[in-house]
Symmetry: C2
């Protein structure tokens, strides 16, 4: 704590010496402070080395008709990621990030065939999709633990980077994510559940009902049990990734509702997690606002995106990098010969 105070004082002194009205970088100054406090550094090498890790898994609950897309899309999108055609690839390229694709629980086998950045594909498959959690727990306790370990393992790769973004792919995964968020924040499903990739009113009603029933049926005791009962593999992996990065002082930028569900599980295992991440993008799902309020965190950008993959978090890294560039590269009042405020 003494160390953190010292760091923040040093950062504040520099911020107030930059040629700008005091506090006028606004939220960027808070970003700089947080980045410094997580990394325990007061100088930063730029550009930041960025890692995006897209965790992929399938969900048994898809058979209840809670998604607008068929389950096969998860697997198809894995190939799309490897070939560089998805939104997260384009953004990753723009921001200069390495985009890892991790199969934690895709239903079906990924064959390493055809063109693609297979060197960034990692298979850590725990199982072929979760079970339908209306009928049985989505995962076994051992599977839940293993999914977290996958994320933790990825955080070891993240040690070579300066900032990390967890992403997700998994048809129907906003359903278990909503269940976890509803459980952790103790807010009713109708306040948390949204339209995901774009379901209609009828499916939305069904989805809310599914989440309500599942919470009542399984009554989890804690975040870890919620992960086990509702799933999924990619959500557990994101939780492990966040925990591992926090431990290694690597700032994590959390993305949408799936990332936030992983964040909730991580939080249930380590209450200091909220101070160690950035909320990257305002989540379109209603559960996003619920979490923002619950944890008192303000997302960096709000672009009304709702496609997951880590896209919102990845975009937010540009803002973080700009903030750090200003901190590192602006002139100071004394060096530039600019007059200070009138007292």
């Amino acid at each position: 704590m003494a160390r953190e105070k010292e760091i923040l004082e040093k950062v504040r002194a520099r911020l107030d010496d930059l040629t700008k009205p005091k506090d006028s970088l606004g939220y960027l100054e808070k970003i700089i402070e947080r980045y410094a406090s997580i990394t325990e550094k007061t100088e930063f090498k730029l550009p930041l080395k960025k890692i995006i890790s897209v965790f992929c898994g399938d969900h048994g609950i898809a058979e209840e008709g809670v998604s607008a897309y068929p389950q096969e899309v998860t697997k198809q999108m894995v190939y799309n990621f490897v070939r560089g055609g998805a939104a997260i690839n384009v953004i990753g390229k723009y921001i200069g990030a390495d985009v890892f694709v991790v199969d934690v629980g895709v239903n079906g086998d990924i064959e390493k065939k055809g063109d693609g950045m297979w060197e960034f594909f990692i298979s850590h498959k725990v199982n072929h999709g979760t079970k339908n959690f209306l009928k049985e727990p989505a995962m076994t306790p051992d599977e839940a633990k293993k999914s977290i370990e996958v994320g933790y393992k990825m955080s070891e790769i993240a040690q070579k980077y300066d900032i990390a973004v967890p992403g997700d792919m998994g048809i129907a995964n906003t359903t278990p994510a909503s269940a976890i968020v509803s459980f952790i924040t103790e807010q009713p499903p109708e306040k948390v559940v949204g339209r995901g990739t774009g379901i209609d009113d009828q499916k939305l009603k069904k989805k809310i009902q599914v989440v309500r029933e599942a919470i009542e049926k399984w009554r989890p005791k804690n975040g870890m049990e919620a992960l086990e009962k509702f799933g999924g593999f990619e959500i557990g992996a994101i939780a492990g990734f966040i925990l591992g990065c926090a431990e290694k002082k690597i700032p994590v930028v959390v993305d949408g509702i799936i990332s936030l569900a992983g964040f909730c599980v991580a939080y249930s295992l380590d209450r200091s997690i909220p101070e160690k991440v950035f909320f990257g993008h305002k989540t379109y799902e209603p559960g996003g606002a619920v979490i923002s309020e619950f944890f008192g965190q303000r997302p960096i950008v709000d672009l009304e995106m709702r496609l997951g993959e880590g896209t919102g978090g990845a975009i937010a890294t540009t803002i973080i990098e700009i903030a750090l560039s200003l901190y590192m590269n602006m002139a100071t009042f004394s060096s530039a010969g600019v007059s200070r405020k009138i007292d």
Copy 2:
């Protein structure tokens, strides 16, 4: 109009074929549509070539004690811009923009001495600061016209670029800007005037009073007359820059309250202007929200910045560029073999 409809249909068709849930890029899709409709293009060469033009001028109203900084700071900051030490330089470098510094009305002479990017400094000085508009009109009608021409001239340089950001520097300039915004939106000064670079309650009260008195005293008939009565040179130049870029189909990203005042003047001369710009950053000054509402425009980012120079607009260009990258580079459903939505 037929041409615009055709362009938007083409853009929409491509957006809906990209491997993502329909409409899931959210606000980025609106950005893409607007960029296409302004440029009348459906394909974009990336990265965008970006120009930032920082217009600098002084204000006679500064002698009323409405700013937290002494007037000499305007001139000092011009040197800081040329030497690359200001916030806009750091952001400009980050986004790969050329940053032009234009003296439209700085009080005192800028001597081209010492190190610096003098090739990006342009002197188009109309006068040495405006007059104190509580006592006399800030500018003569001829000066107001000339200040607009400076901006227009800069839009000719902007023709070599794909996107343009007007910036500003001028101690006390939020006071005339607020007067212009208050006049155009017909909102009372207390709803528009803010703390600028950080004045206290007493100065804020004084500033509101100054704006109220000036509007009552001069009762301008239109935006052009408001520019003349309140000033200033950089605000007129921004108006001309916006008008010139719009005419040349160069998308402009408007920044904070000073840019917005220039935008208001441009709007009073050409009612189609609101469709031809992006609102880059949510303006911290209360007048920003008033304008956003008046014109029904949503800013791209909100980072609570309040230092002008074009910083917020410049940051927003990264989001625009990411949006266009997604549009240009994502795979399509058919090419990637990804299944579409369930009907």
